[in-house]
C-alpha cells in the first residue's frame, strides 16, 4: 500500500483499520538466487536495490534477530559526504545523493533532514586540513564551506568562544549533511523489499556455510539449510564471526562504539556539530534529545555495551564545547559493535569463494553509507563487478599498499 498524507487522514477518520503489515513473515524457501545475510540497513538496502534497480528476484534476507536490529538502529543518525580521499568521497557523495531522493523512492518518511554539519576548527593545522578536505569534496561534486569564527558564532553563540581551553577558529561545513531517523531507514527498505517479493526472514541465524569446490552452495541456519546461488554478507559488527564460516580471516576488528541521548529539550542545536579538540559530536533529534557520541572504547568487543571512561570523556568534550549543558541530563547510553577495518574504510568485494560476497568494515561510518552500500553491493552481486564509486573497497588494497586511510593512523583499527 502506498503511504501519503491523504492516506493518513483517511485512515485516521476510519479508525486506522486499513493499515497493512509493513512486511510479511515468510517461511524460508529451500533455495534462493540471492541470500543476503544480515537484516540491518545495508542488507535490507542491498535486497531492495537488487530487486528494484537490478531486476533480480528470488532474494532472501536472513536476520538473526529482528529487522533493523544492528547498527542501523543504534547509531547517531548522521549523514554527510565530507570525506577527503579519492577512494571514499565519490562513494559517500553517491550515498548522500541517494539519501536526498530516498523517501520518495521507497515511499517512507525517514526524516532525511539536511540541516548541515559543521566540523569545528581549533588550530591553523586543522584549518589547513579542512581546506584540503573541503576542496576535495567540491572537486568530487559535493558541497563544502569554510566558516569563520564569527560565522560559527552567529549559528551557535552559546558555544564556548571566550573561556575555552582550545579556541574555536572556524568550521568546515557541509550544508547538505544532516540526520535521518535511523529505524525508519531499515523499515523503509524492508517494506520496499518485501513489496518487491524479497523474503525477510527474522530470527534466522546463519550457523554455517556450505562450500563445495570453492563455490558457495548455501547456508546452514537456525531454521535449517537454505540453498543459494549467491550469498552476500552484510553483517558489519559480526563480519569476522560470519566469515569464519567460510574460513576467512579479515582485516577487521570488532569494537564497541557508545552513543548517547539526553532528555528531550526544546530546540538548541539545529544541525550536526563535531568538536575538533575533544571526542564529541552532537545533533538534536526531532523529538528534542541531544544525540551525541565520541570515541570508541578501544578494545575488541562484541558486548554491545561500553564502559565509563568513554562516557566521561564524551561528557568532558560536551561541556568544554557547550558550557550551558551542565544541567542537561544524559538519559541513555548504548553500544554498537563496529567493524573497525585496518585503514578505517570499508570493503565491498568478492571473496576467494565463488558466489560469496562481502560487505563490511564500515567502522563507525556505516549508517550514512547505507543507500550507496546497498546499491553498490547489489551491483556487485548482480553484475559481478564493482560499482564505479566502490572500486577502491577491495580486500587486496592492503596487500598492494592502496590503503584508504582518512585519519592517517595506519593498521591500528581502534585509532580510525
Amino acid at each position: 500500500m502506498r503511504y501519503s498524507g491523504f492516506r493518513v487522514i483517511a485512515e485516521a477518520l476510519t479508525g486506522h483499520k486499513g493499515w497493512k503489515p509493513v512486511w510479511r513473515d515468510p517461511e524460508p524457501q529451500a533455495e534462493y538466487d540471492y541470500i543476503i545475510i544480515g537484516g540491518g540497513g545495508h542488507g535490507l538496502a542491498t535486497a531492495y536495490y537488487l530487486a528494484k534497480e537490478f531486476g533480480q528476484a528470488r532474494i532472501a534476507v536472513l536476520e538473526k534477530g529482528y529487522l533493523g536490529g544492528g547498527n542501523v538502529g543504534r547509531n547517531t543518525t548522521i549523514i554527510r559526504s565530507n570525506y577527503l580521499l579519492d577512494g571514499n568521497e565519490p562513494f559517500y557523495e553517491f550515498s548522500l545523493k541517494l539519501w536526498e531522493g530516498l523517501e520518495q523512492d521507497f515511499n517512507y518518511n525517514a526524516m532525511v533532514s539536511q540541516r548541515g554539519i559543521i566540523n569545528l576548527i581549533h588550530t591553523d593545522a586543522q584549518r589547513d586540513a579542512a581546506t584540503r578536505r573541503g576542496n576535495a569534496m567540491i572537486m568530487h561534486g559535493a558541497d563544502a564551506r569554510l566558516l569563520s569564527r564569527d560565522e560559527v558564532r552567529q549559528m551557535y553563540p552559546w558555544l564556548n568562544f571566550d573561556n575555552g581551553r582550545f579556541p574555536i577558529k572556524g568550521a568546515l561545513m557541509q550544508p547538505r549533511g544532516g540526520t535521518v531517523r535511523h529505524d525508519a531507514v531499515a523499515w523503509g527498505y524492508a517494506r520496499g523489499a518485501d513489496m518487491r517479493g524479497v523474503d525477510l526472514i527474522q530470527n534466522c541465524e546463519v550457523t554455517g556455510m556450505r562450500i563445495e569446490n570453492g563455490r558457495i552452495k548455501g547456508v546452514e541456519t537456525t531454521r535449517g539449510y537454505i540453498g543459494a546461488k549467491k550469498v552476500g554478507v552484510a553483517v558489519a559488527g559480526s563480519s569476522s564471526k560470519v566469515m569464519a564460516h567460510a574460513g576467512m580471516r579479515l582485516p577487521i576488528e570488532s569494537h564497541v562504539l557508545q552513543a548517547f541521548v539526553s532528555e528531550g529539550l526544546k530546540p538548541l542545536i539545529d544541525g550536526v556539530m563535531t568538536f575538533g579538540a575533544g571526542h564529541f559530536y552532537v545533533s538534536q533529534s526531532d523529538k528534542g534529545g541531544l544525540v551525541f557520541g565520541g570515541d570508541i572504547d578501544g578494545y575488541n568487543s562484541y558486548a554491545q555495551r561500553g564502559n565509563l571512561p568513554v562516557i566521561e570523556d564524551v561528557a568532558e568534550g560536551g561541556m568544554a564545547l557547550m558550557p550551558a549543558i551542565g544541567r542537561v541530563r544524559l538519559l541513555r547510553t548504548w553500544g554498537g559493535i563496529m567493524d573497525m577495518s585496518m585503514d578505517g574504510s570499508p570493503i565491498i568485494d568478492k571473496t576467494g569463494i565463488e558466489g560469496l560476497y562481502f560487505n563490511g568494515g564500515w567502522c563507525y561510518g556505516g549508517f550514512k553509507a547505507t543507500p550507496a552500500s546497498g546499491w553498490a553491493f547489489a551491483h556487485l552481486l548482480a553484475k559481478d563487478e564493482s560499482h564505479i564509486t566502490a572500486k577502491a573497497y577491495r580486500f587486496d588494497r592492503f596487500l598492494k599498499g592502496l590503503m584508504i586511510d582518512e585519519k592517517g593512523q595506519g593498521a591500528q583499527p581502534n585509532l580510525h
Binding site: Y3, G5, V8, H16, K20, P21, V22, L67, G68, D86, E89, E103, Y108, N109, A110, M111, D128, T131, N135, I138, M139, H140, A144, L146, W158, N160, R165, P167, A184, S262, E263, G264, L265, K266, Q284, D286, K287, A303, Q304, L308, I311, E312, E316, M319, A320, A324, I325, G326, R327, V328, R332, T333, G401, L402, M403, D405, G408, Q409, G410, A411
Partner: protein, 978 residues
C-alpha cells in the same frame, strides 16, 4: 497560602516553613518535602503537560520513576529542564516553572494536539510529509521541532562546579530500604568495608512510606535506628542522595551524589554533584520495586496516581492528594493504600478490585471484579466510571484515584550488562535473569521478594553470600504477606485512549496499531511507538506495553520478551559526568621553561597539544602578526634568534644494544654513528608510512638521546617500549623520557656561535664542534648539552640545561649576546624558516605519506630489517607518479597561497580527475618577498620548473604557481655549515 491538603503525621519538620514558587505563585512547605509533596499539600495537582498531546498531568509517583511531573527548576544559568518534582527536595527559595506548554500550564495552545490525536497515531509521520520533497526541512520539520522537546535549556554557562572521585569497598549496597539496611548491618557488623547508597535524602526506602512494624518498632523508626548504628561504624560509608546509576565491567559502578541540590546554591568551593566511580568486589542490588499502573481510558488525569504513591504521600509527607479517594487495584498491595488512607482520616469512597471473589475490606466500599473504565475532569480528576462485575456502570465523584497494577522489581542495574530479565508469573513481573554483572547479587523486592520479611532475610543472606560471612544478625519480625495478584494490564472498553507510556503519550491503541503493522518484536514495538523512550525510560509503562503485545499476538509474555535497561538508572547531568574538566580546565596546560619570560614580553601563545608555545613575540608598535613574524625571521637569518624547543620529545636510550635497536626502529642506520655526533632519523610505522622524525645523538658508547616531534612524543615512546619488550626482548635497551627534564633552546643564525660562546664553558669553534656535533658541556659550571643541528637552515645549535635553569639561560643568552641583537622567535617564524628549507613537519607528516613522498626514499635502508621496511615496498606506495614533496611559489609575487589548496594543470577543470595534490604548508617568506608553500604533487619530482595552478574552491582562489624545489632558501646548505 495554606497547605490545604496537609494531614497529620509524616516525616516532615513542621517546625520550619520553606517558601517556594511554582509558575510564579508562592507556596509553603516543610523540610522533608519534595516539590511534588509540597505542591500536593497545597492542593496543586496539575504540574505538567505530556509530550505529544499536551495533556494536563500531575505526578503519578513519589519517586524517580516519575513520567509526568517534570518542571524547570531554578533560573538563569542554573535552570534545569525536566526535573522530577517527585524527587526535587524542597529548599527555601525554590523556584520552579512548568514546561512544554504555551502560554500557560492551565491553557496550553498545543493542547489542540489532543483533539487531533486520531491523526497522530503511532508512526504516522513515517507515512506522510514526503511531498513536496523540499518541504521537510523548510516546513514540516521546523514545526515538529518547535513543538517537540520538553524543558528548555539555558544558554548561560552552568555556574556550579562538579566533582568526581573514586571509592573502594568490599561491598556496595545499592538501596537503603529494608533489604539494603539489613545487608549493611550484616556486612558492617562483620567489619567489612561497606558503602550503602540510596537515591533518597532519607534512608529507609519503602519503610518510610509504610505503616507496618519491623521488630518492635514502626518500620521507619527501625530504619532510623539501623541507620544510626551503621553511621557509627567506621567501616561503613552511608551515602544518601546518591544514586547508583551504572554497572560496568569488573565491579565498577558509577554513582551520582547530589551534594548541593537541596540548597539554593552550593556552598563556596563545593560541588553541586559528585560522580563517584565505586570499585568493589561485590555488590548487592537492593533497589526495591516500582509500582505500575493499569491502562484504562483517560487514566492520565491529574489526581490519578500509583496507589503506593498515594499512600506514601499520606504516610511519609502527611499529604492527602484528594478529599474523596478511590483505589483501583489488581493486587493486595493496592488494598493497603485504602486501609492506610482511611486510618488517616481520608475519605476512601471505593476500592475497585479487578479480582473476583475473596475477602472484602471492612468499612470500605470494596467492589470485587470491577474495573475503572473511564474518568473525567479537564485539569484534574473529578470522577471515575466503574464497571462492576454485573456489567453495570457507575460514575463516582472522586478527586484522587490510586491505581495498582502490581510491582516491577527494579532490575534495571542488573540489566546493564545486557542480561535479560525473566518473567515470574507468581508476581506477574520480570525478575533478574542470568548473566548479570559478575559479583552483583540481587535481594529484596528487586529480586521479586516482595514482603518486608523477605526483604530483610534476602538482604542479610545476600551479604553473607557476597562476603562469605559466618555470623549474621538476628532478623527482626516483619510482615510476610504473599503477593496476591491477578494480572490485569488494561481494561478492555470502548474507543477512548488508555495510556501506557504517559510522557510519550503511547496508548493501547498504538500497541494495537504496531501489531496490525507487524511491528511485533518488543524492539519494534518500542521503536515504532516510542514506548519506554521518555525520560523515565519506561519504568512504569514498558511491562504493560509488552504484556498487551503478548495478548494481541497470542504469545506468552516470556515468548514476547522484554527490552533491556541501559545505563544510567536515572538521567545524569552532563556537568556531573564532565566533572572539573571544563572551560580552561578541560585539559591540563603544559608550560615551556620560557613561558614566564614570554608572558612578561606579551607573547602570543598557541596550543600545541596541551602545550602552550610562543607563537610570536610582538614588539611595541607591531600591530599585525606578520610584522612580528617577519621581523623574527629576518633577525634570525641576519644575526641570531632563539626558540624554545623543549616541547620536542626527548627519549634517553641506553644499553649495549641501543645502537642495534635504533637500526631497527629507524629506517636509516644509527649503530654506525660516532659518539658525539647526531643524525636525522626517519621512523616508519610497520605499514611503511612515515611515523615520526627527529635528530638522535650518540652521547656515549651505549647512550643515545632521541628527539621526536612534539605531537608524537608519547606515541613514539609507547612504540619503542613495544619494540623493546614485545618484539625484541632479548636486546639490552633501556628507555626513559627526559622531555621535561631539560629546557632546550634552538639558537640559530650567523651569530649563533658567537652568542653561545659567551655562555658556554667549552670551545665550540667549528673545528672543535662541527656540524652535527653533540656533547655534554657546561654553562657557567652547570651541566648542559649542546647539539649542532638546524631546522632553520642557519648555523644553529640546540642547547639544553636542567629545566629549572631554562628561564635563566634564556635571559642569560639575551643579556650576554646583546651585541648581536638576539631575538626570541616563536612557532610561526620557526615554521617560516623550516618551510624555506623544505623540512617536513606537521602538514607533511600526516600519517598518509611515505619517505618516497617526502623525497626521503633513499633513507630507507634495505640492508637491514627495520620497522616498516618491507611493507614500504608495496606497489601502491612506490608509484613512480605518486605524490612528491615540492616547493611552490606564486608566479605573481603579490598572489597569496592557502594551505590545503589543490594543484591543477593550467586549463584543467576543478574536478577530482584533474586533482594533482595539495599544499601542505604555506608561509610568507620575508626573504623571498612572497608566499611560499610545500605541497604533495603527483609526479612532483618531474614537474620542477613547471607552471601550474593552485585552487582553493572554498575561497574562490585560482592562482598560477611555479613548482620549485622544496629547498627554497640556501639550497646548498652553506649557511648551516658556516
Amino acid at each position: 497560602m495554606t497547605q490545604s491538603h496537609r494531614i497529620e503525621g509524616g516525616q516532615i519538620d513542621r517546625t520550619k516553613t520553606l517558601r517556594f514558587t511554582f509558575d510564579g505563585i508562592p507556596y509553603q512547605g516543610h523540610p522533608g518535602d519534595t516539590l511534588a509533596s509540597a505542591l500536593l499539600a497545597n492542593g496543586v495537582r496539575l504540574m505538567g503537560r505530556s509530550f505529544k498531546y499536551h495533556r494536563p498531568r500531575g505526578p503519578i509517583s513519589s519517586g524517580s520513576e516519575e513520567p509526568n511531573a517534570l518542571v524547570e527548576l531554578r533560573t538563569g544559568g542554573r535552570q534545569e529542564p525536566n526535573t522530577r518534582a517527585t524527587v526535587a527536595e524542597l529548599y527555601e527559595g525554590l523556584t520552579a516553572n512548568s514546561q512544554n506548554r504555551w502560554p500557560s500550564l492551565r491553557f496550553d495552545a498545543m493542547g489542540v494536539n489532543d483533539k487531533l490525536s486520531t491523526f497522530f497515531a503511532a508512526g504516522f509521520y513515517y507515512k506522510t510529509f514526503m511531498w513536496p520533497k523540499s518541504f521537510w526541512e523548510k516546513l514540516y520539520e521546523p514545526i515538529i521541532r518547535r513543538a517537540a522537546g520538553l524543558g528548555s535549556v539555558t544558554r548561560e554557562e552552568d555556574p556550579d562546579g562538579y566533582d568526581k572521585g573514586f571509592l573502594h569497598c568490599d561491598l556496595l549496597i545499592i538501596g537503603a530500604g529494608p533489604t539494603g539496611l539489613m545487608a549493611g548491618l550484616t556486612a558492617g557488623r562483620a567489619g567489612k568495608r561497606v558503602i550503602l547508597a540510596d537515591e533518597d535524602f532519607r534512608m529507609g526506602g519503602r519503610l518510610n512510606a509504610e505503616t507496618y512494624a519491623v521488630g518492635d518498632a514502626q518500620g521507619a523508626d527501625w530504619a532510623a535506628a539501623t541507620v544510626a548504628e551503621l553511621s557509627s561504624m567506621p567501616n561503613v560509608r552511608l551515602m544518601t542522595r546518591t544514586t547508583v546509576v551504572g554497572a560496568f565491567d569488573h565491579g565498577i559502578y558509577s554513582a551520582v551524589e547530589r551534594v548541593s541540590d537541596h540548597l539554593l546554591t552550593p556552598a563556596k568551593g563545593k560541588p553541586r554533584q559528585i560522580l563517584w566511580r565505586i570499585y568493589t568486589g561485590r555488590a548487592i542490588l537492593a533497589g526495591g520495586a516500582t509500582e505500575r499502573p493499569i491502562a484504562f481510558e483517560n487514566n492520565d488525569r491529574p489526581g490519578i496516581m500509583l496507589a503506593g504513591a498515594l499512600r506514601a504521600y499520606a504516610n511519609r509527607w502527611g499529604v492527602k492528594v484528594g478529599e474523596r479517594v478511590a483505589v483501583f487495584t489488581n493486587n493486595d498491595d493496592g488494598l493497603r493504600t485504602a486501609k492506610d488512607l482511611q486510618s488517616r482520616g481520608v475519605d476512601v469512597v471505593a476500592v475497585i478490585d479487578s479480582r473476583e471473589g475473596g475477602d472484602l475490606l471492612p468499612g470500605i466500599r470494596h467492589l470485587r471484579g470491577a474495573e475503572v473504565i473511564d474518568t473525567s475532569g479537564k485539569l484534574g480528576l473529578t470522577s471515575i466510571t466503574v464497571r462492576q462485575l454485573n456489567g453495570r456502570s457507575e460514575t463516582i465523584a472522586v478527586d484522587a484515584l490510586g491505581v495498582s497494577g502490581g510491582w516491577n522489581p527494579n532490575v534495571n542495574i542488573h540489566s546493564h550488562h545486557r542480561s535479560r530479565p525473566v518473567y515470574d508469573p507468581a508476581i506477574a513481573a520480570f525478575v533478574p535473569g542470568k548473566d548479570g554483572p559478575p559479583g552483583l547479587l540481587v535481594a529484596g523486592a528487586a529480586a521479586g521478594q516482595m514482603s518486608t520479611h523477605a526483604a530483610l532475610k534476602t538482604g542479610r543472606d545476600a551479604a553473607i553470600a557476597a562476603l562469605d560471612l559466618t555470623t549474621a544478625p538476628e532478623l527482626p519480625q516483619a510482615e510476610d504477606a504473599p503477593v496476591g495478584i491477578t494480572p490485569l494490564w488494561h481494561v478492555a472498553h470502548g474507543k477512548g485512549r488508555a495510556w501506557i507510556d504517559l510522557q510519550n503519550d503511547v496508548t493501547v491503541k498504538d500497541v494495537k496499531l504496531a501489531k496490525q503493522e507487524n511491528f511485533t518484536s518488543v524492539e519494534h514495538l518500542k521503536r515504532y511507538t516510542t514506548l519506554g523512550m521518555a525520560t523515565d525510560q519506561g519504568k512504569t509503562g514498558n511491562v504493560i506495553g509488552l504484556a498487551i503485545m503478548a495478548e494481541l499476538t497470542g504469545r506468552s509474555i516470556p515468548e514476547t520478551g522484554t527490552t533491556i535497561y541501559r545505563p544510567p538508572y536515572t538521567p545524569v547531568a552532563m556537568g556531573t559526568l564532565a566533572g572539573r574538566s571544563r572551560g580552561r580546565e578541560f585539559k591540563p596546560f603544559r608550560l615551556t621553561p620560557s613561558h614566564h619570560w614570554a608572558k612578561e614580553q606579551g607573547a602570543i601563545f598557541v596550543e600545541v597539544g596541551n602545550w602552550l608555545r610562543t607563537q610570536w613575540v610582538p614588539k611595541p608598535g607591531e600591530t599585525e602578526w606578520r610584522q612580528s613574524v617577519d621581523r623574527e625571521v629576518l633577525a634570525t637569518r641576519k644575526s641570531v634568534g632563539i626558540c624554545d624547543v623543549t616541547t620536542l620529545g626527548k627519549i634517553d636510550i641506553q644499553g649495549t644494544d641501543a645502537g642495534a635497536f635504533l637500526d631497527r626502529v629507524y629506517a636509516n642506520t644509527f649503530s654506525t654513528l660516532a659518539v658525539g655526533k647526531c643524525r636525522y632519523g626517519l621512523m616508519l610505522r610497520e605499514d611503511g608510512i612515515v611515523f615520526d622524525d627527529g635528530t638522535t645523538a650518540r652521547m656515549g658508547e651505549n647512550e643515545y638521546v632521541m628527539t621526536t616531534t612534539t605531537a608524537n612524543a608519547v606515541a613514539v615512546f609507547r612504540h619503542l617500549e613495544f619494540c623493546r619488550q614485545v618484539l625484541w626482548p632479548e636486546m639490552d635497551v633501556q628507555l626513559i623520557s627526559t622531555t621535561e627534564a631539560w629546557a632546550q633552546f634552538s639558537v640559530a643564525g650567523p651569530n649563533a656561535r658567537k652568542l653561545l660562546e659567551k655562555v658556554v664553558d667549552q670551545d665550540i669553534s667549528d673545528a672543535a664542534f662541527p656540524y652535527m656535533g653533540a656533547a655534554n658541556i657546561t654553562v657557567g659550571g652547570l651541566r648542559a648539552r649542546l647539539f649542532r643541528i638546524s631546522f632553520s637552515g642557519e648555523l644553529a645549535y640546540e642547547i639544553a640545561v636542567p629545566t629549572r635553569y631554562g628561564d635563566a639561560l634564556l635571559r642569560e643568552m639575551l643579556a650576554r649576546g646583546a651585541e648581536f641583537d638576539p631575538i626570541v622567535y616563536g612557532t610561526e617564524a620557526l615554521g617560516v624558516m623550516r618551510i624555506e628549507k623544505g623540512h617536513v613537519a606537521g602538514g607533511e607528516l600526516n600519517g598518509q605519506s611515505t619517505a618516497l613522498n617526502m623525497g626521503l626514499g633513499k633513507m630507507v635502508s634495505k640492508k637491514k630489517d627495520s620497522i616498516g621496511m618491507v611493507l614500504s615496498q608495496r606497489e601502491g606506495l612506490t608509484d613512480e607518479n605518486g605524490y612528491r614533496l615540492v616547493g611552490v611559489k606564486p608566479v605573481d609575487p603579490q598572489a597569496k597561497l592557502t594551505a590545503g589548496s589543490h594543484f591543477l594543470e593550467k586549463g584543467a577543470a576543478p574536478v577530482a580527475a584533474n586533482d594533482g595534490g595539495w599544499l601542505t604548508s604555506k608561509v610568507y617568506s620575508p626573504h623571498l618577498g612572497h608566499d611560499i608553500a610545500l605541497g604533495y604533487l603527483k609526479g612532483g619530482d618531474k614537474k620542477i620548473g613547471q607552471r601550474m595552478r593552485i585552487v582553493n574552491l572554498l575561497a574562490g582562489l585560482d592562482t598560477e604557481v611555479e613548482i620549485i624545489s622544496p629547498h627554497m632558501f640556501d639550497p646548498e646548505g652553506e649557511r648551516l655549515r658556516g
